[in-house]
């Protein structure tokens, strides 16, 4: 059976159901894809039992599989996720390219990074650090006085509502589910209906009968399909839900959430940078800061949560001070042009909405200074202590510079939605770290280095198992079960005597 429909431009997408590949047949439903192409899939209403696991005893196979064996399989899977050798991934890549979120060299870089996510050392460290392999493979005694008390991390039945803007999410989700010995149902996004599919099908090709393969299901259904949601989101069928995209993806399922279903909502985030006063002490420091800002604002063409969109600058608001901020903005735009294409490229189509916003404030030069555009990047300088009101529309490498008297003034704009904070110079880190952590930010990174790849590496190379958006998803994905054998006689007496 082919992967493409006879109808031009309409993709046939299978439902992946625990090792089975169900192609759209007579009762197929057609869906509107976003940006890419429309697609057809077997009617999910007819395959609910293929998607959910009602009987928890059926998790026993995965439960009894040693972690070493699961890691072994994931490593092999990773080796088959090289874009050049994998036709399924190539199809997903083409579709993502058409959807147009990321330019070709950047998207290729994202896909090329997939195999590395499945390297043995990385996977082992990830599960060992966050949960502990011993806890997943058996009951771990608490030792000493509590020798009779054992703890085990047990797999759960998980629904992941994934976001389509980063293909990495699909790979990450599959790896994490395997490493927690969990049953996984992925609800694909309409703008990337293929990546999770491609990875799951690659796994089926590799080991069709492995318990890991038998606990992965992937399907698309429309957000707000009440029948699907009511059938799937039940305590008898799902233990954990992870929703990427926060409220927008949870909105529909809200009414079906009940105690007993643990929801992790990974909210949309935005990110910012802090530029301390000392930056303006020398031209060299301004250059270094500008490269740092350009890198954090520009990588992945500013489509990621971690991209800087607002830069708060410790500066006065008199004309001379604003001129210095403008100079910093110009250096940033110049640095955009020098970013390696793997990180960032100029845009080919303008962002009309943002350009209209820029044009409107550009007429108001008492309050704003605007340069650049949405093709090669640009900036809006606020000449007073507040961000632009359309800050949530900042994209296409357009950044808002906001002068503040003191970096701690920025705290009032920080909350749970403020993900990554870039800092320059390093000497300011100590005075901002704890107060920003309390305000809600989740990651503090450096703008120093003077070179794009260095800045990028410094802000991205975290050890396996590091927190994500302020939480530890792996620890949260398992059920921590306590087994208490009777205490030894003398201890029982001792407790009774107390």
């Amino acid at each position: 059976m082919g992967g493409r429909s006879v109808m031009a431009g309409i993709l046939d997408i299978p439902i992946i159901a625990r090792g089975k590949v169900i192609m759209p047949g007579e009762n197929a439903v057609q869906y509107q894809g976003r940006g890419g192409a429309d697609f057809r899939q077997a009617d999910p209403h007819r395959h609910i039992h293929d998607l959910v696991l009602g009987d928890t005893s059926r998790l026993r196979d995965l439960h009894d599989t040693p972690m070493a064996q699961i890691i072994e399989l994931l490593v092999e899977l990773g080796q088959r996720l090289a874009l050049d050798d994998n036709p399924l991934l190539q199809q997903s890549f083409e579709l993502a390219l058409k959807a147009g979120g990321l330019a070709e060299p950047i998207l290729r870089g994202v896909y090329d990074a997939l195999p590395a996510m499945f390297e043995r050392d990385a996977l082992t460290a990830l599960v060992e650090k966050t949960i502990g392999i011993a806890y997943l493979d058996g009951w771990v005694s608490s030792g000493g006085d509590y020798d009779g008390v054992s703890i085990r991390a047990v797999g759960t039945r998980q629904l992941h509502i994934t976001a389509g803007n980063v293909p990495v999410v699909a790979a990450l989700t599959i790896a994490r589910a395997g490493l927690t010995k969990s049953d996984l149902l992925i609800k694909s996004p309409s703008n990337d209906p293929l990546t999770a599919n491609a990875i799951a099908r690659t796994l089926i090709g590799l080991a069709p009968d492995h318990p890991l393969t038998r606990h992965i299901a992937v399907a698309y259904w429309k957000g707000g399909d009440e029948y699907m949601d009511s059938q799937i989101i039940r305590t008898s069928r799902i233990d954990k839900i992870t929703a990427w995209g926060g409220m927008s993806s949870v909105k529909h399922i809200q009414k079906f959430l009940t105690p007993g279903i643990d929801l992790t909502a990974l909210n949309p985030k935005y990110s910012l940078s802090l530029i301390g006063r000392d930056t303006f002490a020398s031209e060299a420091a301004m250059d270094e800061a500008a490269i740092g800002i350009a890198t954090l604002a520009g990588f992945y063409n500013q489509t990621a949560c971690a991209n800087t969109r607002i830069v708060y600058v410790e500066s006065d608001t008199d004309d001379d001070s604003i001129e210095r901020v403008i100079a910093l903005g110009r250096k940033m735009v110049a640095a955009f042009a020098k970013l390696p294409p793997l990180l960032s490229t100029p845009f080919t189509t303008p962002n009309r909405e943002l350009e209209a916003e820029m044009a409107a404030v550009a007429l108001e030069d008492d309050f704003y200074h605007v340069e650049g555009d949405t093709l090669t990047g640009g900036f809006i300088i606020s000449k007073f202590n507040d961000r632009v009101e359309f800050f949530d529309k900042l994209a296409n490498r357009v950044v808002n510079f906001v002068p503040v008297d003191d970096l701690t003034d920025v705290l009032k704009w920080c909350d749970d939605t403020s993900q990554t904070v870039g800092i320059y110079p390093e000497s300011d880190r100590a005075r901002v770290r704890d107060c920003f952590a309390l305000a809600g930010v989740q990651r503090l990174v450096s703008l120093s280095g003077g070179d794009a790849m260095t800045v990028y590496a410094n802000s991205h190379h975290m050890p396996p198992g590091s927190p994500h958006d302020g939480i530890e998803p792996m620890r949260r994905a398992v059920r921590w079960v306590v087994d208490m054998r009777p205490a030894q006689d003398e201890m029982a007496l001792q407790i009774a005597a107390e």
Binding site: G35, G101, G164, N165, E364, D365, E389, D392
Partner: protein
């Protein structure tokens, strides 16, 4: 062919004094010649006198208008009327706010006395005393956009308003005063409410004949700050905004009022329906409110028994009402017992809104010049049927620039072949708001004050 009426291009405001029938009857070629000349003269007068326009025209390199399409690059995006920093509202920095507005008008606002002002409402009143007629509207974000109109435009504004209402209802309000019911607020400077005080009350025959659900309105200050207020409340920092406690008290009242709104409206309308049985009346409001009332009545088996010739004049489409049935219009007509539903399309930046004809099209009058542009901002041809972003150029104002790009996607019929008999270019009834974002659902959003604003508005609208 002889012309029925004579119009001069250097005073398009005076066109509003003419009958709309005669204006629609002007042959297209004549009309477009007049319009081009009127826009050319108006732009030449304003170009260097309105600082914001001068800045835009300099940047775009536009010095003269030689054909109508030349005006597109110098039309203000609708955002220009709110491109001040929200901070100056929060700090109620009236000097800065006035300085901002000063760049949009030929009036010299540097001489307005700003002493003693503490609220936006007071500021607007002070401006009115000075000769301005500044009104505001608040879009989906809650930020106020201020239309820099003045008393200089009042005459044409009023004549047009009477005329367009006669066109859409068939009733001449200069001679026929109808008691009017409006299920909403009263007073203040929100554009629609200010027009009520300026025109509708007089059309009804005086204050005592104009019935509103509430006898007050949401202060501009609350509209402008509701988003920030909610987030400040969440942080326990409301007092740090330095607002008048009376304003905060009023906010609580508004929210409480909103919770009873549907019930209050039913009771209020119920009494009017009984009291005015057998009389000719006019009913105004948003269609979603009118439908709510109609549905509640019809569900109880009731219909109104007003005298023939009563009119319903609605607006605002059905936003604010989820899942309205396809026949909602028929239901509204059946309940109120009227033969048609009057309707108009326009936006507050432009004086000349367009009445809905008997065949379901909004016809523009000659003193409003519509243009369409594609997504690249290029003019679409003025021929056949075209769909694009609507730009309206209003050549009437003598103290501000009247060219505005809307956020609406409109289908225009340029050939003047409407079976209704009216001339002029016409817009199809279905008008779509361009989405706030053109980036799709996956765009990064930061809920914050937008959500807070929405919650507040849902509350006062009785939808929460």
């Amino acid at each position: 062919m002889p012309l029925a009426i004579s119009l001069t291009p250097d005073n398009p405001g005076s066109w509003t004094y003419r009958r709309f029938e005669d204006l629609y009857a002007i042959p297209r070629e004549e009309r477009e010649k007049l319009q081009l000349e009127a826009v050319r003269i108006n732009f030449a007068r304003m170009r260097n006198r309105i600082p914001a326009l001068k800045k835009l025209a300099d940047r775009q390199g536009v010095d003269t208008i030689d054909k109508l399409e030349d005006v597109l690059p110098v039309c203000f995006d609708h955002r220009v009327l709110k491109n001040y920093p929200i901070q100056i509202i929060e700090k109620r920095d009236f000097a800065k706010l006035t300085g901002w507005l000063d760049k949009l008008t030929t009036h010299d606002l540097t001489r307005v006395d700003l002493s003693g002002l503490t609220t936006i409402e007071q500021w607007l009143a002070r401006l009115e005393a000075y000769g301005m007629l500044v009104t505001y509207s608040s879009g989906t974000t809650g930020k106020l956009s201020f239309v820099p109109r003045s008393y200089d435009e009042l005459g044409p504004w009023k004549y047009h308003f009477y005329s367009v209402n006669r066109a859409s209802s068939g009733v001449d309000a200069w001679t026929t005063k109808l008691p009017t019911f409006f299920p909403g607020y009263r007073g203040g400077y929100q554009t629609m409410l200010k027009m009520m005080s300026l025109f509708n009350v007089e059309m009804a025959g005086g204050d005592e004949h104009y019935y509103t659900l509430y006898d007050s309105h949401i202060p501009a200050d609350l509209m402008a700050l509701s988003g920030r207020l909610q987030s400040a409340e969440d942080r326990g920092e409301v007092m740090s905004l330095g607002l008048d406690p009376a304003l905060l008290e009023q906010r609580q009242q508004m929210m409480a009022q909103g919770q009873n709104r549907e019930h209050d409206m039913e009771v209020w309308f119920g009494k009017l329906i009984r009291d005015f049985k057998g009389q000719r009346v006019k009913i105004g409001g948003t269609f979603s409110d009118l439908y709510r009332v109609a549905k509640a009545g019809l569900d109880k088996g009731l219909v109104c028994q007003f005298a023939p010739g009563s009119i319903v004049e609605g607006g605002g489409g059905m936003k604010g009402y989820k899942d309205a049935p396809d026949d909602w219009e028929a239901q509204v007509q059946a309940f109120f017992g009227v033969a048609r539903l009057g309707n108009q399309y326009g936006y507050s930046e432009c004086i000349g809104n367009a009445p809905l004809c008997s065949h379901g099209f909004f016809h523009f009058l000659p003193y409003t010049v519509p243009l369409l542009m594609d997504e690249d901002g290029k003019a679409l041809p003025r021929e056949g049927v075209q769909k694009g972003r609507l730009v309206l150029v209003d050549p009437i104002p003598t103290t501000y620039w009247g060219g505005f790009t809307s956020g609406d996607e409109v289908t225009m019929h340029w050939e003047e072949d409407c079976p209704c008999g009216w001339g002029g270019p016409r817009a199809a009834k279905t008008i779509r708001r361009f989405a706030e974002s053109e980036g799709g659902d996956d765009k990064i959003t930061c809920a914050g004050s937008q959500q807070a604003y929405n919650e507040f508005m849902a509350f006062v609208a009785g939808e929460a």
